[in-house]
Amino acid sequence: MRTDNKDKKANNKNKRMRWLYDNLKGSRALYLVAILGTVLYNVMQLTVPYFSGEIVDRFLTGEDAAQNLKLHRDVFFTLILLMVGLTILRTVIVYFDCMTYEHVSQKVLYNVRNYLYDRIQRQDMTFYRTYRTGDLMTRVTGDLDAIRHMLAWVVRAIVESFSLYLAAAVYFLIINVKMALTLLAVSPLLFMIIVLFKKSVGPMHERLREKLADMNTIAQENISGNRVVKAFAREHYEIARFDKSNTDYKETNKKTAMVWIHFFPYVETFANLMPLLMLLVGGLFLMSGELSMGEYVAISGLIWAISNPMRLMGNIMNEFQRFAAACDKVIEIYESEPQIKDKEGAVNDPERFSGKLEFRDVSFSYADGSKEVLKNVSFTIEPGQTIAIMGETGCGKSTLIQLIPRFFTPTGGSILIDDVPITDYSLKTLRKNIGLASQEVLLYSDTIEGNIAYGDSRLTREEVMQFAGLSAASRFIEALPDGYDTVVGERGVGLSGGQKQRISLARALAVRPSILILDDTTSAVDSETENEIRKSLSELPFFCTKLIIAQRVSTARTADRIIVLKDGRITEAGTHEELTIRNGYYSELVKLQMGTE
């Protein structure tokens, strides 16, 4: 079991690196250049002390320094020039090197973010029922930023540390092997501690990430649900709820920091062991003559190049683990496959359907294993017909129509359009042919024109106005100060329910679908307007089959056929006249609504 876990961890690690490597495609060479650049400027960093040391030795402290300065002024200036020139060269390299890291990391971020967005928007509804909005947003923002940070900073810091360390180590070994080995002996210990730290801080970052997603979710729902919060005067409750999450996040952050603070004294002790050894052992070596004064000064002047990288490792590991936790979350979405997708060789035919729709023995239950929502539903609609579907709340009406654009897949039976199973069409072909105005009206924060033309952005203003007219929306739109250019808020705030529904209807009509599905689209519309809409629906400028979910008899009565659903089964089917005399749900409804009880 334990080894399993270990294997899994190692696998994850390989997977992350593999994934990162794959996503560097196209920039790998450039990234390598950036890494080499980092090595280069770190080695160069060791050169400045060399030149300033030379200047001090030759023209300041040496026995004939004054003489040298007079006779070899050219050498003096050459050294100064070298010192300044190399530093400027180095800073130029540093600048371009940093920018290269930024360039590559931004490119990867850009690609991964776009890919991730596209992945998310193509997921099926089962996915959307699993992931909370706030969680998904954390993945596309915070988690991706951790990956960007990895490429832009963490990798550079690692390369920087190692090259500095190695360059200094080689330099020490050249100067004095014994002294160098004495100092370097400390590094493995320090390294071990860092590895221990990395292990213990890993789980903390996973938790931290979870807490962040939680907080994101709570804040996001509070903002989206602000009307409900106010309606119930639940501000204090919300503040307390958020406070809990905020506190949780704070505490986890502190705990994560404490892991480092726990390790910090040990790391510092080992790091400080180096100058101590330098003094003690170096002093003894000086006494025994195994080390010259010049060598001592040279080594001790560069001891930071050995100990600082080791110190920095703590921070690096922290960031590395943050990356690891975030990366797993990103990869999860990156690799997730929607269950509903185009079949191999799916028909991608831009031509219109003629509009025959058939349900053949369709059953459906949601993946969470709850009861069957639809049971052996069968019916056929001929092209151009209008069918009304009625039934009590929760009878399966909305589920039924959601199966047509393949938001869910039936658990039994099949659905055919023009005698072809809908799974044989590409999703795009299928959906482009369907116009659906759903119950829950979701408009985008965009102009009214933009919302109506959502399904077909090539629409002209005239066409938009035409469809608004068909949905009885032109009057109120034109009465707005900015007319069709009025920006509506998210979810269409600023508009009344009936107004939103009419825009949503216009949006569905604007794609000129061959199958039009209206899910109780006029529930919040007053009856006069509804009559108007009903009239224009019967005179649409394009041919289509209509499927209408309705609560009102007035909407249903003109349909070619009315289907009544109860507990997921069809209990009644027929015309208004047929059903009115058949003592069932429909005739009850007629009595109820005509006020003739």
Binding site: V92, G142, N253, P405, K428, Q439, A524, Q593
Partner: protein
């Protein structure tokens, strides 16, 4: 203000202001003692750091030439002691700062969130929610480091700098001045960078905010996207927003990455100048060897704090862009709030009175024009009329979601502007068209109406709302997990759940704004029975287009053109053969 979308940046007119930093320091005040302690410890640590070279020099100058191993050993031990103390100081300081920085972040976020709760609908209506969210979560995270460690660095390195400058001048005024010559150059450089950088980082924050807004809207509206097969087009839009982020980021880091190389370059020039001036211009021998060595080593010390300050400065400029947005939100005026000395509204009997109430949104045309009516306790009032006539506005005014422009609204004789908001709203049950479902169980969602309700109360409320049967038929019953998008609940079921939520809150005044539009007629009929028992003794306002819902109300108000056109019972209005009659016959047709 025009409504903002993901396509446009939110303007920020205010110029760069030190005020933001001062304001931020307000958050630090609470922890000032701890921070002073941390600073003192850092200072002590730094002072010990200065002792180390003295010990080393003594070992090399005295112990080694004298071949005194005992002395070397004791000096090493002394050095170890110094290091140990400095480790202790640094550890304690890190401990304090880790806590303080998290506490500050927590405080800012808490204030921000609490303020958001007070902001009116209009605030939420006028901007994409993703833009609000990014401030609460991402931006606050960004400023954390700057406020804690940034300030410590400034104070500490500031002191260090003064200290070193003092030392340098004590050693040699001329050479010290050479070193100081770098300062104005640096200042000029930093000022130039600052202006560029600030604009660049503001752009970054704007573009990120746009991206976040688009993202949130599209996750929420995924079904619509898929229905209209808009994926390809959305992808293009997102790529454009993504590209904006990338571009602005690269511009911004172009400046940020200049700071460090810039300081480095200036520093090496100064070092070169020390040698040139010290050895040649001032004449060889005019400065002692010790002086030059000392000054050049101080010069090295001098630039270290400046480097650190430069980094901190960088950090500040980046994050000020975020801080500005945070404070902008905290400063957003609360237009609807308790009046000074507002008292709680006593238990409501239910007489609601509109006296010449007029209202307009955003100074545009008037939505309501001098509306007056009185609802007696226990009376049920129906509001009907064409969409957009002002019905929702009337009920929104009762609960003070908006404040009336002129005229006044009283409940039991109390002007609603004179009582506390929470006492007003907790006595009201408001159900709106959009039934928002929070993520959690169905139980949690209903309990939102009354937090201390027992499971039994909840079941009872659900039964009254005709929601019990469908909830019980779910495999997990009331413990079924739902989320914002409602999961497997149909729109009608969502309305029933939020109806149960409202029933549970046991309000004295009930407002139903198209609350049952998605519920089928048969269910609504049984709902009506539950409702009737509930309505007894409560004043209620019901907006519905389905006239069967409202025909039994005590009084029906026909609203159009911002005013009450007709008022009376169903029978009276039918006899009158006016607007209502027309509406009713249209529906029955």
């Amino acid at each position: 203000m025009a409504r903002n979308t993901f396509k446009e940046d939110e303007e920020l007119i205010e110029p760069f202001n030190i005020k933001h930093l001062l304001r931020a320091s307000g958050y630090i005040k609470k922890y000032i003692k701890l921070m002073i302690l941390a600073l003192t410890l850092s200072g002590l640590g730094g002072a010990f750091g200065l002792i180390a070279p003295v010990i080393v020099r003594r070992a090399l100058d005295v112990a080694v030439p004298a071949d005194d191993k005992g002395m070397l050993l004791s000096l090493t031990a002394l050095l170890a002691g110094v290091y140990a103390l400095s480790i202790v100081f640094t550890t304690v300081r890190s401990y304090i700062m880790a806590n303080v920085s998290q506490d500050i972040i927590y405080d800012i976020r808490k204030d921000l969130f609490a303020h958001l709760q007070e902001l009116p609908f209009t605030y939420y209506d006028n901007r994409p929610h993703g833009k609000i969210l990014i401030r609460v979560v991402n931006y606050v995270n960004s400023v954390s480091d700057m406020l804690s460690n940034g300030l410590v660095t400034i104070v500490l390195e500031g002191f260090n700098l003064l200290f070193i400058i003092g030392f340098m001048y004590a050693v040699d005024v001329q050479l010290a001045s050479v070193v100081m010559f770098g300062v104005p150059i640096l200042a000029f450089f930093m000022l130039w960078i600052k202006n560029k950088q600030r604009k660049a980082w503001q752009a970054v924050s704007n573009k990120n905010s746009n991206l976040n807004a688009y993202l949130q809207e599209n996750i929420t509206g995924a079904a619509v996207t898929q229905m209209f097969a808009r994926e390809d087009e959305n992808k293009k839009t997102f790529e454009k927003l993504s590209e904006d982020c990338r571009k602005t980021w690269k511009t911004a880091v172009r400046y940020s990455n200049l700071v460090w190389p810039g300081i480095d370059t200036i520093s090496v020039f100064i070092r070169a100048c020390i040698f040139i001036f010290g050895l040649i211009l001032f004449g060889h021998g005019s400065k002692s060897l010790g002086t030059i060595v000392a000054i050049s080593s101080y010069a090295a010390y001098f630039w270290q704090p400046i480097m650190n300050l430069g980094n901190t400065f960088n950090n500040f400029i980046n994050n000020i862009a975020y801080l500005e947005r945070i404070f902008e939100t905290i400063d957003e005026p609360v237009t609807i709030k308790d009046k000074d000395g507002a008292e709680a509204l006593p238990p409501v009997k239910g007489r609601v009175c509109f006296e010449n109430v007029s209202f307009s949104y955003e100074d545009d045309k008037e939505v309501l024009h001098s509306v007056s009516f009185t609802a007696e306790p226990g009376e049920s009032i129906a509001l009907v009329g064409p969409t957009g006539a002002g019905k929702s506005t009337i009920v929104n005014l009762i609960s003070r979601f908006y404040d009336a422009g002129s005229g006044r609204i009283t409940i039991d004789g109390h002007d609603i502007k004179e009582v506390t908001l929470s006492s007003l709203r907790t006595q009201m049950g408001i159900m709106m068209q959009d039934s928002f479902i929070f993520s959690g169980t169905i139980n949690d969602n209903i309990r939102y109406g009354r937090l201390d309700a027992t499971d039994e109360d909840i079941k009872k409320a659900a039964a009254l709302a005709c929601a019990d049967s469908f909830i019980s038929s779910m495999p997990n019953g009331y413990d079924t997990e739902v989320n914002e998008r409602g999961s497997s609940l149909s729109e009608g079921e969502k309305q029933l759940v939020s109806f149960a939520r409202t029933i549970l809150s046991d309000p004295a005044i009930l407002i139903l704004d198209e609350a049952t539009s998605s519920i089928d007629v048969a269910t609504e009929k049984s709902l009506q029975e539950g409702l009737n028992t509930m309505l007894k003794g409560r004043t209620s306002f019901i907006i519905a287009h389905r006239l069967s819902t409202i025909r039994n109300c005590d009084r029906i108000l026909y609203i159009d053109d911002g005013g009450i056109m007709e008022s009376g019972t169903h029978d009276e209005l039918m006899a009158k053969k006016g607007f209502y009659y027309r509406l009713y016959t249209a529906q029955a047709a």
